[in-house]
Symmetry: C2
């Protein structure tokens, strides 16, 4: 690695002269500046980011903690985070909590010592169901800000980026109601997560509020293990022959349900209307293509970065914000054309 010292030595000047020359300081003569720059280029000098970070007490690096990178939703959020950070001149250190509290906790401690300027994270399932928040509060108290997205801890005071899950499910359910469906079922594989709970509430509220819907509300909880998903869904579809509307609130069960229902002889969307929750790319995997409540995952990521950087660079103390990112409902082939 080439350092300022090396440049100084080859030119026979002092380190500080080189340093100043490289940033066009008016203190340094045009001539010297030119000479320094030339040799710097020739030797392919790059300032050592570590040294700069140490000096400036900031790293221009964001710690990102993702619960599950194999979930397209999170992968896409990471994509958004990466894009926006790069645009704003930040790097990201990515940690995968793998839904484990311990890993999440470790990552936080490992990086909250000057390695990153702040965190962007969605909390692990385990953390959420156990209601663990100490590690989060501690980090914030040490002046390392956190922005939480999607899965947030309500009793931690920090910036947040969420979807209006209640409303998303509400509007989604309305789509099915307005089609005149008589038995609309919600399949829930999100277990103890707050987002799942909110979606169930939105679904129930919509059914209640529309007099045109005369059926019952039926929420079926299933195991989220993907290997078991096919069998569970097949069982549900078989056991509910009169089901004509289906709301799947996770990424993949909508796709699977469409494929299974068709194999079992249901016409989609005629006999059964299916609405999933996910982003575009996965909806292509079924035929007809899955209609979805689309969460703008990329936007969630970008927004999170913007909020964190705002806080870092303007030193916004106190006063936290919660941003809600819009959802859209995209009707493709598994619901009736309107």
């Amino acid at each position: 690695m080439i350092t300022l010292k090396d440049l100084a030595a080859t030119l026979g000047v002092s380190v500080s002269t080189v340093s100043k020359a490289l940033k066009d300081s008016p203190e340094i003569s045009k001539d010297t500046i030119a000479r320094v720059k030339e040799i710097a280029k020739e030797l392919n000098y790059r300032p050592n980011t570590l040294a700069l970070s140490l000096k400036n007490r900031k790293t221009k690096t964001i710690g990102v903690i993702i619960p599950d990178i194999l979930n397209v939703f999170f992968a896409r959020i990471l994509y958004g985070i990466e894009q926006e950070s790069t645009a704003l001149g930040y790097n990201i250190i990515t940690c995968l909590s793998n839904e484990s509290f311990e890993k999440e906790n470790n990552s936080l401690h490992l990086l909250a010592n000057g390695s990153v300027d702040g965190f962007i994270m969605s909390i692990a399932e385990e953390t959420q169901s156990n209601g663990e928040v100490k590690h989060l509060k501690e980090t914030i108290n040490q002046d390392v800000p956190i922005v939480m997205f999607d899965r947030v801890a309500n009793d931690v005071e920090c910036d947040k980026v969420i979807i209006d899950d209640f409303n998303a499910a509400f509007k989604g359910t309305e789509v099915l109601i307005k089609e005149g469906r008589k038995k609309i079922v919600l399949i829930n594989s999100l277990g103890g997560l707050s987002v799942g709970k909110l979606r169930v509430l939105g679904y129930k509220k919509a059914l209640e509020q529309h007099d045109s819907y005369t059926g019952e509300a039926l929420v079926i909880n299933i195991d989220s293990n993907e290997a078991l998903l096919n069998d569970q869904l097949e069982k549900i579809i078989t056991e509910h022959p009169d089901m004509d509307g289906l709301l799947c609130i996770d990424n993949v069960s909508g796709i699977m349900s469409v494929n299974i229902a068709q194999r079992l002889g249901r016409k989609i969307p005629k006999d059964l209307s299916v609405l999933g929750f996910s982003s575009d790319e996965i909806s292509h995997l079924s035929y007809p293509q899955l209609s979805t409540v689309t969460q703008h995952a990329e936007e969630i990521g970008q927004q999170s970065v913007r909020m964190l950087v705002e806080r870092l660079e303007n030193k916004t103390k106190g006063h936290t914000t919660t941003a809600t990112v819009d959802f859209t409902i995209e009707l493709r082939g598994t619901t009736l054309p309107n």
Copy 2:
């Protein structure tokens, strides 16, 4: 942030005493060690990684460059990388090249200045098709080692982790041949990538070598844009009514083909046997579940980390290795049971 200085001040001893005490130096009295440790714990002291990195000239951080995080294959590799790095005490800085040469190049330059000890990467499509290697060679020459996985640059001398793509396609094709299929088609959406080319070669070789196969080889190149995939596949399946074996060499077109073919009235696997290339989780999305040539993505990631760390810690100079990670063929529902 709490520093050694802070601890020293509160205890009324010197910084070096604190530093030594924290690492149980025999130079320091039991008594002082205890006192230092107690207050360190109380104030929640964590050594500043940045300062350590600067001092030790190594960061214990790996730069990871991924072409496309929305591709499950890469997401899963990242998963493996993260697991193994954490296990070996390394952090990862993740950059997404998004298949662009420029982003790849930038990331490399941005981090190859002491920010990371080495890189693990798969080169961007653009980089590969243009045959750009200067940035890679430069990095290696600056003594920052690179491990490439999956998509590798043949004329760059570095450690590599690959799949035996030729053989994977060869064996996969053999499965279909042994079923007695008469018209086996390969659908290629991987365009200019080396892996795609190797798979096509393996397929052709298998067809040639088996006298029992009397049909032709037919490679159909398609656009990889997922939004267009459905239509393209439907067209292919419609136009080739006599096709009875299908090899899809990317992640998703196998799934789509199965769903489309069934909708068009083909019985799977009776009329048409389909074999995809992907990892487990995505194969669940079709019914019957897709039979696949499974690439052990996680293992590829882990192996890459092991090779890099080996080089970093043992200062293995010169002498590069290429590791081949096994593939397995997993017959699920879209091929005949054997």
